[in-house]
Amino acid sequence: MAFDGKFRRSGSELVKLDCDYLLGLFQKTESVRFEVFTKIWKETKFSEIFHGTLVHENRPFSRLVLRVAYTYFVPPHSFQIRVGGLYLLYCLYFSQRASPPEKIHIALKDWGDVKKFERDAVEAHHYDIVYILRQLMHTKAFYFSAMPMELSFKKYKNHQAPLRCEKFIERASRPQELISIELLDELSNVHSHYDKLKGSVFSESEHSSSSVNLIQKDLVPQLRSTVVDFHTWQQKRSCLKPEDDSCVPVEESGEGTASHEETNKRAQLLASIKTKAYGQATEASKSRRHRQVELELSNSVEAETLNNQARPNFKKRTSLKSRICDSVHISGDIEKATPKTTVIYRLVTVDSEGPGQTEGGNKDVQNSGGDKDTG
């Protein structure tokens, strides 16, 4: 990066533009086949990205390229883009000039997502995806690390929020996200409140008269069932049969966007919407940011672990120490880790075999009780 500093765009921005371009072409093919990817890789002569660096730039450049490519491999990108990100990592790793090869930093926080991705690929019989991922593991291409990159408290020039290519983001569940339990709860509250207010204006006998009953009584249940219907439709549509395991699949269309398991998880979420009764008092105000997740999954064990994971890690900064940290800190334009993205993503992948639960499931449940009280 340092060696591109004199010019207008930073090295990582340029690499990102190149990756966006490559993955954009891959996205157009609507395929998740490695064969299709390598065709684009060759056509764009992407391996030339390593050509012409000075000897001492080889390693820093490899590090930069792998760091950028890694971002596509993890959420919130769509399944197909994540596949593209994986292939990109694989191709870059084996084309780089640094020796021994620069490793890919994989963050502990992303490991669960990677394993989930692998399971999805296995279930859908995407052998090439699984093979490429395991081959990278086998050749020890990863550093099992704290974060996907080295951090040195640096504020990068022109550093903005990690700009993501909008069309690469997983979006299949927007209606469900919009019509959340939180929204339904609030809506039914407002609704009943309005109803009561209206009722209080009129006498008992006037209650049957039409002017009081202008509001639609079943608005909330109807909205709910519409979303559920939409989801069922969506699920039916995406339930194309995965290919037979006869051979390495050649061509296919549209399947990469949302995997089976993901849609199933969404179904579980929807089910939790279905079973919830309305008209009862909503929970007392909690921080709005947290509430969506908390309410969506109330009463389920998943909710407890999820809460634990999704709980943003910023404590209220009241202590002097942290205030000093703030003033020492690089001013306000640094983007805080956006809890929103996390929340949406976590919703998509409620998973009964999440990393927190396979081994420490019980512990998590016990802990989260305590967490809730203090939080």
């Binding site: 765009r9 030339e48 502990l108 395991r134 020890k140």
Partner: protein
Amino acid sequence: MAASRTTMENEDNIPEYEYVDVNTNVFHIGSFQSEWLKRLSPQEWSYQQQDETEFDANFAKDMQINAQTMDALKSVCSYDSLCCHPEEEKPDMETVPEDSILRTLLQRKKRQDYKASLKIHKNRHDLYAEELDRLTVVRKPDTVTDMLPEGEIILTINIYYPAVFDKFNYVRPHMTLLMTGSHTLAELRDAICCVSDLQVCGEFSNTPDVAPDFTSKDLYKSAFFFFEGIFYNDMRFPECQDISMTIIEWAKSHNFPPYSQAGMEDTRFSDLKVKVGFPYLYCHQGDCEHLVIITDVRLTHRDDCLDKKFYPLLIHKHRIATQKCAVCHIFIGRWFTKNDQFAPSDPCLFCEKCFRMLHYDSEGKKLGNFVAYPYVDRGAFN
């Protein structure tokens, strides 16, 4: 201390960003290590690489595919097929391709042309960087006991120049070290080289021969690291004082949150709770303060230097220009004089030879009324 550390098992020790791309939240390094080891199979963090045919056999079995499918898969996924050029024409990796559509390459071409127009082939920095890259060669130990254990933690630590330097460089670290989870903070301290440890205090114009025997490091042994509200003091020697006490008491009297103390030599990195990417403090010689940033924490890898003896491993060292003697302009300054009638300036810097030749007669008798202090150049560790 160990007991108080383990009571924090309630927290998850999975690092998340506190500020995106800047630093993480606080986590316990030892627990972070066990979280990784819990999730991985021993094969995954082992230094041994599985046999290729064994890998293929396992894969085929796992995916329930036959040998024919497996072969097809292997040929599709082979990375030998990735080369963008026909086999006969080997591409020139050294020059930037002319006709590329990649933005990175357009930029690199522009820069290469620009550099060529300057007619500078390689600057000193480039040359030095090459030298460093050679340093990262993998070293395997001769004996098993010197082998870094599999699944051990490796930390990358940046030490910055103290703020007292006039050309204080905030961005470029002075040195970058690799350390393991079982190293103590005292071992980090010993690996940090700072010129203020080498300074010799006092005026020695009458006895220039006895001067450089005692350095500040021998005289003032106290030092501390500060991580997450805890001062880790060096208490290895009887002369060591708890120099953090003044700060702690001052903080207490000013209603700051309470700070605590611990021993540098009793604290291993795997005992620490830290934020990766966050600036912490190393203080020695009373007021020589360095920022310390842990930039990466990860499991060891088979391509790491696996010989314990080489750790703490220096992987980067910033070179700074040395101050040359005012007379010969060749040798590094060793003496710093004031009120010096022989000097072109006041104060003035001399190398050993010029200093002796100008200021003493052939019997070693001092000429004139100057004062002289031993000088240690900050490039002394280059």
